[in-house]
């Protein structure tokens, strides 16, 4: 059948290029590996040239694929499922790229592009290591291409084709029997981008994170190159900038994810030990371990075997992370719901294809890898660096195990789950690791490689130790950290960790001054350590002093038993100032001013009780996309230099678009007559002519009557209502009065005979506009972000310095 209106060219071009990319990168992989094995220099060179060409072709193909997909999404070609599922016409162009990485296909494409970029950089810089390193890169390139291939072989799906047509996806939908389906109304717009991804962090976080993911292959590839060529220790200097780069970018990507979580999710923080977060943290920890052992090997010749092991593991764990987040195995443990995409077995093979040969080769060559029989001195830097790496490695095992419980359950048919306080299950163990790591970070720098004279060490470490003790004691005593929710032991551990973190910062700062004499060029490591220490300080203070501000203090009696109930939400009635701890808060109004009408802002005013300060927050709700009803939450924060006030809407009455179906009922009443309503009764106390009081100012020339109504609830509370009937322009009009606390609206609608009046009474729970709000205070969260930035800068400094050192080495040789 012919379907007018379809644009099939970009899809055909894209799919052709996917296939071309896969084939050419396979050619490149074979050529490079043959070149590695070939003993004839002429041959090796020839094969290498072929490899380069083939990799280049693969690169151009991937870029074409990406461009085609971008074109399809940007020009709203909804005949393509990817555009239909992930974008819509109303989407702001700045989120176009986010559409591409919303789906699994797009994220693999992104990975693929970074792999190409890294490969091209390696082609230029890896010199004699090019053939084996690029062999690994090309293999990866081929595997990534299969993830977007989308073909079926013997009923098995290989990859997902991003250029699948909508009519191919929904095969049985009757609409596609129409040749002119493209002109049907339902094909004119797509499902839209997930509302939570419509955030600037989500434009930048995935590319950075995927660059981090992609870059972990470089140290891995060098390690494989070392094992293949049996030049075991030759690559570590050349690869060090790559390891640093990878640690830097992966760390940045993870922390950007944390920043996004902090800004747009509602678990009240930047980190929740969510499996998806853990999945990328675990390889980073192992990478840091590998980085340190690699530095140790370069300086002393120790720890080469560990370096191999860590680099192989890091990359395998990256692949495992990709499996965890995409397989759907984590559905019951993660807030990020990833559906099973039907390519699970392929993802598993992906991991094993790299892990098994690598670890096999490592075991086979293990004995041949050079090592130093003489043990490191306990007064040497390398010894303690190795211990630190080991701690990082064990930490990663712990987090990986806890995160993998669903996988473990699947394999061993068990049914374990983390208890109802997941964060504490991690924190109670991580806190002790933080102490150890903090101390090691502080002390190890002051030890020299090989052997440190005890006198040198003690004289240098004395000053920073004293400063750290004083500083952290000051924080502990005056910082007001009394986090006793988990008992005194945990509180003590927090203070211990705080000392270790402060010590790490101070010791590394003084190290730059005293040992490096302020030479910043060489201080990348110390700068990164300062940043890491500050991150720890920020994490410890902001989490242990995190405060719920929105305790329910409205005085509305609660029907709750028990005393441990966390009452973390406060209800604010529109324009009614409410007491909330340190603040008076008022819900001013709500507005959906956003052009697309997809966002609903709530203007909440905060007035500090003691001070004059006043500010407004706009937490908002974003309408769900993809045909789902309802809203998603988008918090808003007020940033101070020393704290954040963080708030989000936990319930808003206008979230339900139910209209008010309650009806007014009329009653004819004499003075002192009584009417019952569901929660009590109403008494008409009297009727006043042209009243003058705190609410109304009528003059004797007006014609107005005010009913004085008493409302008595069955709990015994009494309220007053004063509806008014008046004449204006010869017409009778009336003003309704409301008793919010009883959901009552009362109107005085008519004057009847026999001194009776007609009252209109409505009971409705839709009378009062209100929101339920949650407000947290995060003290010193800025320290975490500043620390993160300093750490990243430190990594970058080190990377640049190591590249320079390598160049200098070469020019000497």
């Amino acid at each position: 059948m012919d379907y007018p209106g379809e644009h099939l060219v970009p899809g055909q071009l894209g799919h052709f290029c996917v296939t071309l990319s896969m084939v050419s990168s396979l050619v490149a992989a074979v050529a490079y590996f043959v070149s590695t094995r070939s003993s004839n220099i002429q041959d090796a060179h020839g094969w290498k040239r072929l490899g380069r060409w083939a990799f280049g072709v693969s690169g151009i193909s991937v870029l074409t694929v990406f461009a085609s997909l971008l074109y399809v999404v940007a020009t709203h070609k909804f005949e393509y499922y990817y555009a239909y599922e992930h974008s819509s016409r109303s989407l702001s162009p700045k989120y176009l790229l986010s559409c591409i990485w919303e789906g699994q296909e797009g994220s693999f494409l992104l990975w693929s592009i970074w792999n190409i970029v890294l490969g091209c950089a390696l082609m230029r810089t890896s010199k004699q290591w090019e053939a084996p390193v690029m062999g690994v890169m090309s293999t990866m390139q081929a595997m990534l291409a299969t993830m977007v291939l989308g073909v079926y072989v013997f009923g098995f799906q290989i990859g997902k084709n991003p250029f699948l047509l909508t009519r191919e996806f929904f095969r049985n939908a009757p609409i596609f029997n129409l040749p002119d389906y493209m002109s049907q109304a339902s094909m004119q717009d797509g499902q839209g981008l997930n509302q939570l991804l419509q955030n600037y962090w989500m434009v930048i976080h995935p590319p950075i994170l995927f660059l981090g993911f992609a870059s972990t292959i470089v140290p891995f590839a060098y390690a494989i190159a070392g094992l293949l060529t049996k030049k075991f220790g030759g690559w570590t200097k050349q690869a060090l900038p790559w390891t640093l780069f990878s640690a830097c970018i992966l760390g940045t990507g993870i922390m950007m994810g944390a920043a996004w979580a902090y800004e747009s999710l509602t678990f009240g923080g930047y980190w929740a030990w969510d499996p998806v977060e853990n999945a990328s943290l675990v390889p980073w920890l192992v990478l840091i371990a590998g980085l340190h052992t690699q530095v140790v090997y370069n300086a002393t010749g120790h720890s080469l075997r560990a370096t191999y092991f860590f680099h192989i593991l890091t990359f395998s764990l990256i692949l495992y992370a990709s499996y965890l987040t995409k397989s759907g195995d984590l559905q019951d443990t993660s807030v990020h719901s990833f559906a099973n995409s039907g390519t699970n077995w392929q993802l598993r093979i992906f991991i094993l294809l790299f892990f098994l040969p690598a670890i096999g080769l490592f075991i086979k060559r293990y004995k041949q890898i050079p090592f130093i029989a003489k043990e490191e001195s306990s007064y040497s830097r390398e010894f303690w660096m190795f211990i630190g790496s080991l701690v990082f490695f064990l930490t990663s095992i712990f987090i990986a195990t806890a995160t993998s419980l669903p996988v473990i359950n699947k394999v061993f048919h068990t049914s374990f789950a983390i208890g109802n306080d997941a964060a504490f299950a991690y924190n109670k163990i991580i806190i002790f690791i933080a102490i150890v790591i903090g101390l090691l970070t502080a002390i190890a720098q002051y030890l020299r490689y090989k052997l440190t004279p005890a006198k040198y060490f003690t004289s240098k470490i004395l000053l920073p130790s004293i400063i750290a003790v004083v500083l952290s004691t000051l924080i502990s005593v005056f910082g007001g950290i009394h986090y006793d929710k988990y008992g005194i032991g945990f509180l003590a551990a927090i203070h211990g960790a705080l000392f270790a973190a402060v010590y790490a910062v101070v010791a590394n700062a003084t190290y730059i001054r005293t040992a490096l004499h302020g030479k910043l060029k060489a201080a990348g490591g110390s700068v990164a350590h300062i940043g890491f220490g500050l991150m720890l300080v920020g994490i410890l203070i902001s989490s242990s002093k995190k405060e719920v501000l929105s305790f329910n203090t409205t005085g509305i009696p609660l029907e709750l038993g028990g005393n441990e109930n966390p009452l973390e939400n406060i209800t604010l009635i529109k324009s009614l100032e409410t007491d909330m701890g340190k603040y008076h808060t008022t819900y001013i109004n709500s507005d959906s001013t956003d052009a697309s009408g997809n966002m609903m802002y709530f203007k909440i005013n905060f007035k500090q009780k003691n001070k004059q300060e006043e500010f407004t927050l706009y937490p908002n709700l974003i309408k769900n996309t993809k045909g789902q009803e309802g809203f998603s939450n988008n918090p808003d924060s007020r940033h101070y230099w020393n704290k954040d006030i963080f708030s989000y809407i936990s319930y808003a009455d206008n979230m339900d678009r139910r209209t008010d179906t309650a009806q007014y009922r009329s009653y004819a009443l004499n003075v002192h007559d009584t009417v019952y309503y569901s929660n009590g009764f109403i008494v008409l106390n009297g009727v006043e002519h042209n009243p003058v009081n705190d609410k109304f100012r009528f003059t004797p020339s007006d014609t107005a009557l005010m009913a004085d109504v008493k409302v008595v609830s069955k709990e015994g509370y009494t309220y007053q209502a004063r509806p008014v009937f008046y004449v204006e322009d010869n017409q009778g009009k009336y003003l309704v009065d409301t008793v919010y606390a009883q959901n009552l609206a009362i109107g005085f609608s008519k004057v009847l005979d026999n001194r009776k009046i007609e009252l209109q009474v409505k009971e409705s729970n839709k009378l009062v506009p209100f929101v339920s709000l949650k407000v947290y205070e995060f003290p010193f969260i800025g320290v975490l972000w500043v620390g993160t930035i300093i750490m990243i800068v430190g990594f970058a400094m080190s990377t640049v310095r190591r590249i320079r050192m390598n160049r200098a080495l070469k020019s000497v040789a």
Partner: protein, 137 residues
């Protein structure tokens, strides 16, 4: 014995201790019936909303009290009380993962992350509804 070996042994001992303490706090997946057997112990239940019973959430009176009923996979029913705000789109959940403990006949959740809602992605899980949607007009 080298001191590295000693340290390794210490680390292994610590890891085992960690593992045991961690395992000790793990809960298990249960059904409502088996959770009743373990009253007071934190367990994880996978269930779906029982639509025949009313859901109570009146934020105007108390934004920190949500009560609803669930049916587990074998058809047992229980009331659930959650002391936080009602998760969005709760009504549309096809599956709810609950972490809490039974007290009497009520499943009590005292941790904010004690509810995990799994909403069906309308188009992924039910292609028929998608095609219906496409075929309207």
């Amino acid at each position: 014995m080298k001191k590295l070996h000693i340290i390794l042994l210490i680390f292994i001992a610590l890891s085992i201790a960690t593992l045991i303490s961690f395992m000790g706090n793990l809960s298990t997946y249960e059904t409502i019936a088996s959770a009743k057997q373990k009253e007071g112990k934190v367990v994880t239940i996978i269930a779906r909303l029982d639509n025949s019973q009313p859901m109570t959430y009146d934020p105007l009176k108390n934004p920190n009290y949500l009560s609803f009923h669930v049916v587990d996979t074998v058809g047992n029913r229980a009331q659930v009380v959650y002391h936080y705000e009602k998760p969005y789109d709760m009504e549309k959940a096809e599956r709810i993962v609950l972490k809490g403990k039974m007290s009497g006949n009520v499943f009590d959740i005292t941790s904010k992350d004690g509810i995990l809602i799994k909403c069906p992605s309308k188009y992924k899980d039910d292609p028929r509804s998608a095609s219906n949607n496409l075929s309207q007009n």
